[in-house]
């Protein structure tokens, strides 16, 4: 067991500016980021009815990457009509045939994984190391996993006949653009639904590239439709009278709006919303591993993660040495070009998100919190924010309560496990939590008492298509992944109805 309390810190090597990393950019010139692909409706790309296009920007440089269509209400109508027209044929297909299409899509995604990873990093700002090694493998795995369910639904739901909802409207966020598309599309399609998908305004390019893959896979036209644009498009989609079920991933604020909008319509609804996860470290934990876990928990994807471990709760006895070790580790985080293979943290996704992060950190500073950031050089253009650790916060401070969705770690301490549970649950959210301790019985006790849909123990930010993911309380309802995730896309005669 590692014990940082009775160990002097490792000697710190410093070479000044003598040695630095050479740039190691992933080549991106071969990636097709075609301008004006348009909306994907009934199996074909089509221009928006209003003729309006907007630029999708590279968050690392601010430069436009490609023009994306701004859909209007008539485009949403067309997309829903295409999904409706395709619905009877798709649900009537034998499950085995739906499975074949999903398997094909999974294989095509694997074949074109690098291209899509580069496009994801260009459009989203996340490091290529993550888009290449985390996002894309999970995207393909999600289709592959759900392909295998398509002809086994009667095994998943014994004792009741399930049927698809029909047309599903799905609205996804910008933090994992292609991964969220996969999380939404694969279970919906496998259960026999057809889909209209609305990617986030600032990150549509990989979803549109995915549409090309759907064409390559010869998925029947209309089974998946993609409408792009700002929030008005999503609002029109979830309110569309011919949509039978809505699935949303995004902020709790917008989730509540959507829940209000579909109330009284009988539409099915699942919501995967925000979080403010507690990340508990006990004095008996393997502290070096815990430091890595905490770093992974909050700085992965620049902290643009709904399940990020954004509230670090340290047992008081190890708080100081742990923070010292954490700071040493954070000083080594390389922030910069998302396409550089040595980059740990890329660009903040948008100027608006950067402004929100800056505002919350400034607020903490103004209220007497201690804001620590490493001395790290940030690129000039684009949207950047250094990894940040904030201490001396009260439990009512905004950084302790509000989702930052950025690389900002709020730190507090506890003495007793019961206090840790109380502090962990002192939030309206309930998406995820982390626990670091060497004691198995304590893990199982605390994991049972913390109100969160996912609890990572001696690890953090792990995902698998077979593992249910989703929130309690104001982090939403419904699960994605595994059998629990399938049940979000089927209904049965005699079941309780959506309100």
């Amino acid at each position: 067991m590692t014990d940082a309390t009775d160990r002097s810190p490792a000697p710190r090597l410093s070479f000044g500016g003598a040695w630095s990393y050479d740039p190691a950019p992933e080549a991106s010139d071969w990636v097709d980021r075609r301008d004006r692909r348009g909306l994907f409706i009934a199996g074909a790309f089509t221009a928006p009815a209003g003729g309006v296009w907007f630029d999708s920007l590279n968050p690392a440089t601010g430069a436009p990457l490609a023009a994306v269509a701004q859909a209007d209400a008539s485009d949403v109508d067309r997309a829903v009509a295409a999904a409706r027209a395709a619905a009877p044929g798709w649900r009537a297909l034998p499950g085995e045939h739906r499975a074949r299409y999903l398997f094909r899509i999974a294989r095509l995604l694997q074949e074109r994984a690098r291209e899509l990873a580069i496009l994801e990093s260009l459009d989203g700002g996340k490091p290529i190391r993550e888009s290449r090694d985390v996002d894309l493998p999970l995207v393909a795995a999600h289709f592959f996993h759900h392909a295998g369910w398509a002809d086994k639904l009667e095994l998943a739901f014994p004792g009741r006949a399930v049927e698809p909802y029909g047309v599903v409207g799905q609205v996804i966020p910008w933090n994992f653009p292609l991964l969220m598309a996969a999380w939404k599309l694969a279970p919906a399609l496998c259960c026999g639904n057809t889909v209209v998908l609305k990617p986030a305004e600032t990150s549509s390019l990989t979803a549109l590239a995915l549409c090309e893959i759907l064409q390559q896979a010869e998925l029947p036209p209309g089974v998946v439709n993609v409408v792009t644009g700002d929030g008005r498009v999503g609002a029109a989609l979830v309110r569309h009278p011919d949509v039978d079920k809505v699935a949303f991933t995004g902020s709790t604020e917008v989730g509540k709006e959507i829940q209000r909008a579909v109330a009284g319509t009988g539409k099915g609804l699942t919501l995967e919303l925000g979080g403010k996860a507690a990340h508990l470290v006990f004095e008996d934990a393997a502290l070096d591993s815990a430091v890595e876990g905490v770093v992974r928990g909050i700085f992965f994807n620049q902290g643009h993660v709904c399940c990020a471990g954004s509230r670090l709760l340290l047992q008081e006895s190890i708080a100081e040495p742990f923070l010292a070790a954490l700071r040493r580790r954070v000083e080594r985080i390389r922030v910069g070009d998302p396409l550089d293979k040595n980059t740990d943290m890329g660009a903040i996704h948008s100027a608006a998100q950067l402004a929100r992060i800056e505002e919350l950190v400034a607020d903490a500073r103004a209220h007497g919190a201690e804001v620590w950031q490493p001395d790290c050089a940030l690129p000039g253009d684009g949207n950047w924010f250094p990894p940040t650790v904030v201490t001396r916060l009260g439990h009512v401070d905004r950084l302790m309560r509000e989702e930052v969705f950025g690389p900002v770690l709020a730190v507090a301490t506890f003495r007793h496990p019961d206090e840790a549970v109380d502090k962990a649950n002192d939030t309206a959210y309930g998406l995820s939590a982390g626990i670091w301790t060497d004691k198995g019985s304590r893990i199982l006790d605390l994991a049972g008492r913390i109100r969160a849909g996912v609890v990572w123990n001696n690890t953090f930010n792990r995902f698998d298509p077979g593992a249910a993911f989703g929130g309690m309380r104001e982090s939403g309802f419904g699960r994605e992944g595994g059998r629990a995730g399938l049940s979000a896309y089927v209904r049965s005669a005699g079941g309780l109805a959506a309100p």
Partner: protein, 290 residues
């Protein structure tokens, strides 16, 4: 004067294991029982019930499922021994025409209670799972109760309908605040006496009588209520409740069975009525000690 004068019962609310009158002092005369005064619960009564329910949630949720099952079985036993009285209350409450039909409703309620008693320790085997995760991790998903659930019973069947919505909520460890049938609340309120004598911990079930139109919005709005299960009522009022419930991201479901539909056992013995009010929790742990 000769012969015996009956002792009639005052029907009161059931909150926190006690039988208070409405703090408001208000009563109403149910449509089905014109000679009876019942409490017209206020929004304050409902909030008091939420406090009691929140206090009871942890203990009920963390009981062994086997123990919860035994308590539900005890509830069935108590219902069984009070069959005649409950049937009489159904008739007196005006929701059932004759005693024989009322008895059938009580018996169906007992049977449903036994079904749920046996379900309590099957939820994780049926709804939980282990994941074949990629990588050296042990990953499993369990189910646990959502929290405090507001239940609105159908007007009829007054007892079976109430229990058909209460039991799927209670069985997983939720606690419930239920509005009884507005027109025929007597048997529903009498269920409190059954709960109180059957080891159901105080606060796990609250039973209120009153005006649905007055209390539904409060049930939907209250931030310490986590879910809502409504027997379908006025569509516009139910929709408004669903809208209000969004402010606290409540889990909301509507039961659209007809009054006659509850009598069909297969219609009310459903695992998928339990599912909306449980939360799936996934735990990850590394397998390798590296």
């Amino acid at each position: 004067m000769s012969g015996r004068i009956d002792v009639s019962k005052t029907y009161k609310l059931y909150v926190g294991g006690a039988f208070p009158r409405s703090e408001s002092g208000r009563t109403y005369t149910p449509a089905g029982a014109p000679g009876v005064n019942v409490c017209r619960a206020s929004r304050k009564d409902l909030r008091d019930a939420v406090v009691a329910a929140r206090g009871a949630f942890g203990g009920w949720a963390r009981r062994d499922a086997y123990n919860r099952g035994q308590i539900l079985y005890r509830l069935a036993e108590m219902l069984e021994t009070r069959k005649a009285a409950l049937a009489a209350e159904l008739v007196a409450g005006g929701s059932v025409a004759d005693h024989a039909e009322a008895l059938r409703e009580v018996e169906a309620t007992v049977d449903l209670c036994v079904w749920h008693a046996g379900l309590a320790d099957k939820l994780n085997p049926l709804l939980g799972s282990q994941t074949d995760a990629s990588g050296p991790f042990f990953v499993f998903s369990t189910v646990e109760p959502t929290g405090v659930i507001g239940v609105v019973a159908p007007e009829r069947p007054a007892l079976l309908g109430l229990c058909a919505l209460l039991l799927p909520v209670l069985v997983s460890g939720n606690v419930a605040i239920a509005l009884c049938s507005e027109s025929s609340p007597l048997a529903g309120l009498a269920l409190g006496e059954v709960c109180a004598s059957s080891d159901v911990p105080a606060g796990v079930v609250a039973l209120l009588s009153g005006h649905r139109a007055e209390l539904l919005a409060e049930l939907a709005k209250h931030r310490a209520i986590d879910g809502l299960l409504l027997a379908a009522g006025d569509a516009a009022a139910d929709a408004e409740a669903a809208r209000l419930a969004a402010d606290s991201v409540k889990r909301v479901r509507r039961c659209t069975l007809s009054a006659a539909g509850y009598a069909e056992p297969a219609a009310v013995r459903r695992l998928d009525w339990v599912e909306p009010f449980v939360e799936v929790k996934t735990l990850w742990h590394p397998v390798s000690a590296r």
